[in-house]
Amino acid sequence: MQPRSDAGGETGEADSDRLVARNNLSELARVSEWVRRFALEHRFAREFAYGLELSVNEALTNIMSYAYRDDAQHAIVVELRAQPDRIRVEVKDDGVPFNPLELPVEEPPVSLEKSRPTGRGIPLMRGFMDELHYVRRDSRNVLTMVMHCART
């Protein structure tokens, strides 16, 4: 499946752009590159661009790793929207219903022995984004992430 841009893309500067990714971790590199290009076109400061790329990466990693119980190909839709004072990301998947925001906020492990190597994606999204919202709509998980920022 090829990336699909509803707006912007090659010409840049449009306020929103959309990409469809397959449910395969190998897609993350292409998604990251797309986010970086969007951030560059909209002149986000590095701190915001990094947080945006990281949060999209973590949201998709979770979906690709845990949302599907079959081996079929699924489409994950990511939409980026640049507003004057905020960046909004919407991630839609047709995986099993899962609200990542219902996961309890874990206390950080006190020792290496007691720590798990995984489970850091959601804390990172919480740390780098200002708002996270979840809704199950039309048999899809819809995660919206918002970052308040000023452009350079």
Binding site: L25, S26, L28, A29, S32, R46, E47, Y50, E53, L54, N57, E58, T61, P108, P109, V110, S111, L112, E113, S115, R116, P117, T118, R120, G121, P123, L124, G127, F128
Partner: protein, 117 residues
């Protein structure tokens, strides 16, 4: 991503990681990094040239640090750039694997003894 292992200095081996430590980057170095953690005792992981760190990269670091500790060894992270440092802090990784910016302090943290002059 690139992984450069320097000649050990005493019991300390410095490994320099270069590039993006995301899913693709972590997959590239996972096997060699774990092999290193299974062989060496004190590992100084230089992150100064890592320009992106995601949870998949943190997974690699924590797995290796756990393997080292089980064998009586230790890992420290050295000189991450600002955003990588923020990822380490936000994920609570910096409380599990110490982060240093001063090479002498990093070496002392790995091997707490007075170096020979």
């Amino acid at each position: 991503m690139e992984m450069h292992v320097e000649e050990p200095d005493g019991d300390i081996t410095r490994v320099r990681l270069v590039g993006r430590m995301d899913y693709a980057g972590a997959t590239e170095i996972d096997a060699r990094f774990m092999e290193l953690a299974g062989r060496e005792k004190f590992l100084l992981v230089d992150l100064s040239q890592v320009n992106f760190l995601a949870s998949m990269g943190i997974r690699t670091l924590i797995m290796a640090a756990k393997a080292l500790k089980e064998r009586g060894g230790k890992m420290i992270l050295f000189s991450p750039e600002m955003m990588v440092a923020k990822v380490l802090k936000t994920s609570g990784t910096d409380t599990l694997i110490p982060v240093y910016y001063d090479l002498l302090l990093a070496r002392m943290a790995l091997q707490p003894r007075v170096p020979k002059s």
